[in-house]
Symmetry: C2
Subunit: 189 residues, 2 copies
DNA sequence: TGGATTTGCCTAAAGATATTAGGCAACTGC
DNA sequence: GCAGTTGCCTAATATCTTTAGGCAAATCCA
């Protein structure tokens, strides 16, 4: 009986890779056990249940996304920052579709509050420092940006914009242009 | 052995109701069989497999959403139409969270092309007739609106905007204002 | 170094879901 | 009222989740 060296950490990391390969919904405890050539029950020493695996992958994805976002924002401001940050989301979703899907997993409030989701909100606010918005408009704008980024990326991932002209990349650029214009010229109530 | 009168139609309708009650992801063939007090295998005369059930609920939701959208657009134009249409999405998601979740189910291309999703795109284009956009900007704008509506509603459904000021309703109104302004003043490339 | 303890993976088992095959009873049509 | 069709059933298999309890390998420590 050779010990493989299972770890909560390794399992979640392998789960994330599996998600990118076969889709987040196909990530199961059984599939993961197969990857490690180990019996299913063995994973339950490291994971409370399958929910913990899924949540773990979601939290990992949120961290990675936040790290990339922070790197993209460094040294940038204004529209430059806006576009760089937006591209982080889009690129991450394309590179890691399974992880991105995992990041959409609804988390219970405590888990969410302790997650990197908080950093996402802070970074979005940081971008808005390049524009002239004060509360509560800044919050409205945070919500707008979050909606557009998430909405566009998820529609694009589902193939919503493929096979029809113009290219999705073109729309993406023009939408970022329009968001920049909107933020520079945020309408009064 | 009393016959309950199962039908593909009835099953999908019951599945949609079940989705709104317990969540789309909890809608299973087994759960549905329980609802009708019938053995699981009996459903397989009416449904090819569980995928068909889920797809059926998705298509039903898309139809209902398109019908509501059409009703909302009748007799309206410009910002009025924009807001009415947007509210259809948001209200539908709140009234029928399970169905709304179902409407996000990725469909294979042929199914999607035959679905009410096509009407959604047409209606969005109809709204844009109230603004001065020509191709390809109109397509970019269609994609922007789709992203914002879907993005906002799904973030709101996941509780993203609750428990933090200002109220989500306020952000929603201001975002619709900003979209209207953006469309009236769409920036050149 | 060797024994005690902890820890990791295993076997076994039960419960839930999805799906298929084949059977009998209840409707339908005439 | 009979023949044929249809609808729901029993039975069986496969997969996934989860728990309980066991043995062996790693680790600790004298």
């Amino acid at each position: 009986m050779v010990r493989v060296g299972l770890t909560r950490e390794r399992l979640i990391r392998a789960g994330a890779e599996l998600a990118d390969e076969v889709g987040f919904d196909k990530v199961t405890v059984s599939a993961l056990a197969r990857q490690f050539d180990v019996k299913v029950a063995s994973l339950y020493s490291h994971l409370r249940n399958s929910q913990e695996l899924k949540t773990g992958i979601a939290l990992l994805a949120l961290e990675e996304l936040a790290d990339r976002g922070a790197a993209a924002l460094a040294g940038r401001a204004g529209k430059d920052a806006l576009a760089a940050f937006a591209n982080v989301y889009r690129d991450y979703a394309r590179e890691h579709p399974g992880r991105y899907a995992a990041a959409q997993l609804p988390l219970d409030p405590e888990t969410a509050a302790a997650s990197a989701g908080v950093r996402h909100a802070q970074m979005t606010r940081a971008i808005l420092r390049g524009y002239d918005l004060t509360e509560p408009d800044q919050t409205h704008a945070v919500r707008l940006l979050g909606s557009v980024f998430h909405g566009y990326v998820s529609l694009e991932m589902q193939g919503g914009f493929s096979h029809s002209a113009p290219e999705s990349q073109e729309s993406w650029s023009r939408i970022l242009d329009s968001l920049d214009a909107t933020l520079r010229n945020w309408p009064a109530p």
